[in-house]
């Protein structure tokens, strides 16, 4: 039995565990870091502490379970809480198994010495603060937070300790994906993962973030789960003609509160493809902002969610067309079982001079249970007159004729439903150019289904 819930406003503190003392301890623990970085963090902490928690009247939090967004009871996770065994994530598909950088509880736990083309930088944020300060100043959390989480983005900046910094210079192609692991272990751990990717003019790179909790390591059945708080961000920047592929695979424990913010900047003739896979979390919010800043820019925004139990996945997206002849294509697919809940709220904004914008937005929900709940809020704000913008949202159940067809071949009902769900996801996975990555993500999804 759960404890009686009193009025959320009365019980929820706007700062929760992230007090001024905790912040001071965090700063003190950083050692020698540049003054500008400290100043940045202090300003962010003030913003975090000043802003209220989201309230029932916030349009950006419509349908979200607000009492679940509580900041009490967490502590800043440290490496002491992890063991070497935990830091090796078992049974990962090949495409995700070998990290270039691995972080456990906010600290670097492993790095590979895989050879990369000359000029390519794959290092930690902690190092980049010193070695690549100008790039960090220009790109780290530099874009506006327009999707409702200004407070939590500030919390991220205040407490972020380390993360991945990837820089690909002009004209350089990185052949194999750069893989980053972010691991949370120990009860009530708070972690602040970050990945910053800068692809300069005509550069080409694929970066994969894998987010993982120890509950999945020690408890294959997932029956007992450890609560974590994950407040992460990624900044993606694709310069003139660059091609950037980003995959974020989220497999936190089932007790995790996860808030993740993405910013994607796409310059002239550049192309960004991002695919976010959402599997874990008690309540998981993902905000994704794509800015198409110059002609020829293209952002493909993809997401797959496997929602079951009482999980809540909350996805907020914004496609901003700021220049003519830009293109964006969003496809978010959710499968919902049990009493799971999803929220999709997407907005396409076309600025007045962004003529010949081609924008697409689609949210599709496959309902595998009568009790699941999918909310869709698609939206358009068009200020140019020569554009092509399409959006839509659908929720459908498994087609009983398809189910019978599979059963008539001897496939059991649950296996048939799983096969049909994979079929439903395949449209998104097929957008990936890499077959290895496709197979890797598929295998992660299968793990979720087996639980």
């Amino acid at each position: 039995m759960s404890a009686p819930v009193s009025s959320p406003a009365a019980t929820r503190s706007p700062i929760g565990s992230f007090t001024a003392e905790t912040f001071a301890e965090h700063l003190a623990s950083l050692g020698a870091v540049p003054a500008w970085w400290i100043a940045r963090k202090r300003a962010a902490y003030d913003t975090f502490a000043r802003l209220p928690l989201p309230s029932r009247t916030d349009e950006a939090w419509r349908f979200s379970t607000l009492q679940g967004v509580a900041l009490e009871g967490f502590h800043i996770a440290t490496p002491a809480e992890t063991t070497a065994a935990e830091r090796r994530i078992p049974d990962l598909p090949a495409a995700l198994a070998t990290p270039d950088l691995a972080f456990a509880n906010n600290h670097l736990s492993a790095r590979s010495n895989a050879a990369r083309p000359a000029g390519v930088v794959v290092t930690t944020l902690a190092e980049a603060v010193g070695s690549h300060a100008d790039l960090l100043k220009a790109h780290f959390m530099a874009q506006p937070q327009k999707l409702g989480s200004e407070k939590f983005a500030a919390l991220h900046t205040a407490f972020v300790r380390d993360g991945a910094f990837v820089y690909v210079p002009r004209g350089v192609e990185v052949a194999t994906p750069i893989v980053i692991h972010h691991l949370a272990t120990g009860p009530a751990s708070a972690i602040f993962p970050h990945t910053l990717v800068i692809a300069e003019e005509n550069a080409k790179v694929t970066v994969i973030d894998l987010f993982y909790s120890d509950a999945r390591l020690s408890l294959p059945g997932g029956a007992v789960s450890v609560p974590h708080f994950a407040c992460g961000a990624n900044d993606l920047y694709a310069g003139h003609g660059a091609q950037l592929t980003y995959v974020g695979a989220q497999a936190w424990s089932y007790e995790t509160l996860s808030l993740q913010f993405n910013s994607t900047v796409v310059r002239r003739d550049a192309r960004v493809q991002s695919l976010n896979l959402h599997l874990g979390g008690r309540q998981s919010r993902h905000e994704s902002l794509s800015q198409l800043q110059a002609p020829g820019a293209f952002s493909e925004m993809l997401a797959l969610t496997v929602a079951d139990g009482t999980q809540e996945f909350d996805q907020r997206t914004l496609q901003i067309h700021q220049a003519p002849d830009t293109k964006s294509d969003l496809l978010y697919k959710n499968s919902l079982r049990d009493q799971a809940k999803t929220i999709f709220s997407g907005l396409i904004v076309v600025d007045p001079d962004a003529q010949r914008t081609d924008a697409y937005q689609s949210n599709r929900n496959l309902m595998l249970s009568e009790e699941a709940e999918a909310n869709s809020l698609p939206g358009l704000e068009i200020q140019a007159n020569d554009v092509r913008c399409t959006h839509g949202a659908t929720s459908s159940r498994i087609d009983p004729e398809q189910e019978f067809y599979l059963q008539a071949r001897g496939i059991r009902k649950d296996a048939a439903d799983q096969l049909l769900t994979f079929g439903f996801f395949e449209e998104v996975l097929n957008r990936l150019v890499s077959d290895d990555l496709h197979a890797g993500l598929r295998s992660l999804i299968e793990t979720q289904f087996e639980q």
């Binding site: 398809q402 019978f404 067809y405 059991r412 079929g423």
Partner: protein, 251 residues
């Protein structure tokens, strides 16, 4: 030697009775054809034997090797050896034929037992060669965007892989041109043999030029009203279904 015995079967959709006391016995190695006008319950018969959830059996029984299958789910019946070749096979976007057939094979194995992937593909390719199906076929989504002929060939490939005891072929000839009909019929003729019983359901006699039945039954208004050998099909072709109706009235 297996047998599929249909005993005084009554089937309804909702309140409406469609099959009204039908009896028929099919043994391994036999090819039976059921012919009859539209709306007479032929497809209902095939679907109800396969376990389609929309139909209710209101009387009678269906026995596979002496045991009733009516309490079993569709997937259990399939694993027991019943195969329905659909008149209108479903399109399954995003599920490749290879993965689909793999899942069907896996379902026939014991809990915890893993399918030997290389042996499976070897067998699949051998069956495809036998049925003259291009190997590229396996990576396509099941029936998605297939022509009528491709859909029916896909059904025959599934039948070849699953090796049922009894195949119920529901209007396999519908929507096929002569070339497609010939290819599909060749497939069935390749598969039929002492271990397979076939029930072909058709509106037209032309299919029976390609797949020669041992027995022909005429179905009308939910019952079998006339049975004979293949000459009955020819007689029907020349005299038309009105002949049967008239006979029924005079009887």
């Amino acid at each position: 030697m297996s047998s599929l015995v249909i005993q005084d079967l009554h089937v309804a959709i909702g309140e409406k009775e469609i099959v009204k006391g039908l009896s028929l016995t099919i043994n391994s190695g036999e090819v039976h054809a059921i012919m009859g006008p539209n709306g007479t319950g032929k497809s209902t018969l095939a679907k109800v034997i396969a376990g389609h959830p929309d139909y209710t059996v209101t009387g009678g029984d269906v026995l596979l090797d002496g045991a009733s299958i009516l309490e079993k789910e569709a997937d259990e019946r399939a694993r027991a050896g019943i195969f329905l070749a659909f008149q209108y096979p479903s399109e399954i976007p995003g599920v490749s034929i290879a993965n689909f057939l793999r899942a069907a094979q896996q379902a026939r194995m014991a809990e915890g037992e893993e399918l030997d992937a290389s042996a499976y593909y070897k067998r699949l390719y051998a069956k495809m060669d036998m049925l003259k199906i291009d190997r590229k076929f396996t990576s396509r989504s099941v029936n998605e965007g297939f022509s009528g002929g491709e859909k029916k060939r896909c059904e025959i490939l599934q039948m070849a892989m699953l090796e049922p005891k009894f195949a119920l072929m529901d209007e396999t000839d519908s929507g096929l041109d002569i070339d497609a009909l010939r290819i599909v019929s060749e497939g069935v003729n390749t598969l039929k043999g002492p271990n397979l019983g076939v029930l072909m359901i058709t509106h037209y006699q032309r299919l029976l030029n390609y797949i020669v039945p041992d027995f022909v039954h005429v179905m009308y208004d939910g019952r079998i009203v006339k049975s004979g050998d293949k000459s009955l099909a020819l007689e029907l072709e020349s005299k038309g279904y009105d002949w049967v109706k008239k006979e029924l009235v005079t009887a």
